[in-house]
Amino acid sequence: MFRHTPLRYAALVLLASAALFQAFTAQYFGLEILTEILILAMLVLALDMVAGFGGMVSLCHGALMGVGAYGYAVLSTTAGLTPPVAMGAAVAITAGLSWIIGAICSRSHGIYFIMATLAFGQMAYSYVFEAPIFGGDDGLGGIERLDLSVVGIDLNDTRTFALFCLVALAAMYGLAVVILRSGLGRSFSGVMHNEQRMRALGLTVWRVKADVFGLSGMIAGVAGVLAAQHIMYISPGLMAWTVSGEALVVVILGGLGTLVGPLVGAAVFVVLKHELSSLTTHWHLIVGVILIGVVMSRANGIFGFIEDFVAARSKSANTNPKAREGTKDA
């Protein structure tokens, strides 16, 4: 069950402030990095919903983001739909597909679930790679951004688009919180804790898993639509399993099952990637070492480590009378 703690609120305020500061002060390259972080943050938020709160470790979320991106691209270019309609349709298609994948895979657990989702992701990747309608390995270009000029907003401006992505991420975060704190979210969490008992109490477990997986896919679909609009070009590489793997790395790096942690993880990962790749082409090695360090430290990612540290400090302050007296004296 997801709970907001003061530390999580503080982290959210800090992250939002940093993003706003960057959005209003950075130049073109900095804004591009910010947008990349925000889109990745949305994808890992979707993944954390199912992996962190339901134990559904998915290796198809990258492909789901790709479905959103390709859906938007094809519907807005080839099919000629207006961007708002194409966006809505692409997100709905991704959510529907995700629900079906969730319903099918919900009967498997652990490594089998991971492999089943990987298979779905690879099927989508292979199909897009070969299908002429999706541009094959050349990908699709000429993708337009949403036109908000009627309300005086120009999303073709890099700064405005970064702010738009920030607002979208905030909305998706709010949606994720509402879902996880709802009856459905509580049941989902109950299933992760004890699936057999939830079934024995009368819950249709597969349906709950499929519903949350579908909603998570919907958020991944929104990330995909934004990714397509960001680069204005998409290729099958967006759907490769490595994208899903990278998203999982980011969730673990940030803190599985915290919602806030993966946002931190996304920021750290993208900044590290850009900083390290300017120093060496083997930047993955360094990120790998950092990930191993995080996993071996037995902390729940960077944010989990901070939460544990703050909890330990507060416990020690509460149980040490001398420290309390010292605080009073001070």
């Binding site: 069950m1 509402v178 879902i179 704190r181 709802s182 009856g183 459905l184 509580r186 049941s187 969490s189 109950g190 804790h193 004890n194 057999q196 008992r197 939830m198 079934r199 024995a200 109490l201 009368g202 819950l203 249709t204 477990v205 349906r207 709950v208 519903d211 909603l215």
Partner: protein, 247 residues
């Protein structure tokens, strides 16, 4: 209310239940006795649908539920507690009860509202917490309460689905004599229209709570009758003294 007809179940060459037929009336409290390996838990698993019988039927409130999955049987009023606690450890007592109550009230799959905030869910949680003496622990996490209180919660979670029939697999398993006595009172105070089927090794509890007693041995019903008759049964004594082969 609950009826089984010739339930048979084998695992390979081992025949675990043999033609088990039981009939429980509404509000009846029946205790199933039998030594370890007698097939009691396997029988429970078949009743709730966690195991499929090789042959035989299960009827709940007059309806054949043999082909129904676990969740559907539960929604029709068949609930169970387990011999080993199967609780939601990271959650509070209130949340544990709330999960079950939300399923019963149809709030477990709502997206836009918190099930624990619903008046009907809160009412069931409070009711059940009163029934099984959990009010003082409502806001404690499962990891923070004692083993005995967890056993109470185990029963409470099953009760929060407002069942017609409650199956309890050794509710006093692992608790001390004093707490076991508390369990007698707890079970005796449950609503009289609730049908109870209890697996129990504690003879005192069995004779204190039961309207009827069924004895299983090697998967077979060897006794079915009133507690007084069971108390005087040489067969029962022999089974518990381990000399069944000679009987």
């Amino acid at each position: 209310m609950l009826e089984t007809r010739n339930l048979d179940k084998s695992f390979g060459a081992v025949h675990v239940t043999r033609r088990v037929s039981l009939k429980l009336e509404r509000g009846e409290r029946r205790v199933i006795l039998g030594p370890n390996g007698a097939g009691k838990t396997t029988l429970f698993n078949q009743l709730v649908g966690e195991l499929t019988p090789d042959s035989g039927r299960v009827h709940l409130a007059g309806e054949d539920v043999t082909a129904l999955p676990v969740a559907k049987r539960a929604r029709q009023g068949l609930s169970r507690s387990y011999q080993k606690n199967t609780l939601f450890d990271g959650l509070t007592v209130e949340e544990n009860l709330g999960l079950a109550a939300a399923i019963y009230t149809g709030n477990a799959t709502r997206i836009w509202s918190d099930s624990l905030g619903k008046a009907e869910v809160r009412e069931i949680v409070r009711d059940v917490a009163n029934q099984v003496d959990l009010m003082p622990f409502l806001h404690a996490k499962v990891s923070e309460i004692s083993y005995g209180v967890r056993r109470q919660l185990e029963v409470g979670v099953a009760l929060a689905t407002r069942p017609l029939v409650l199956l309890m697999d050794e509710p006093t398993s692992g608790v001390g004599p004093e707490m076991a006595k508390g369990f007698h009172d707890l079970l005796n105070n449950l609503p009289r229209d609730l049908t109870l089927l209890i697996i129990e090794h504690d003879m005192d509890l069995a004779f204190d709570v039961a309207d009827t007693i069924t004895v299983l041995n090697y998967g077979e019903v060897v006794f079915d009758g009133l507690p007084d008759a069971a108390r005087g049964s040489d067969l029962l004594k022999e089974i518990y003294l381990g000399s069944w082969e000679d009987a």
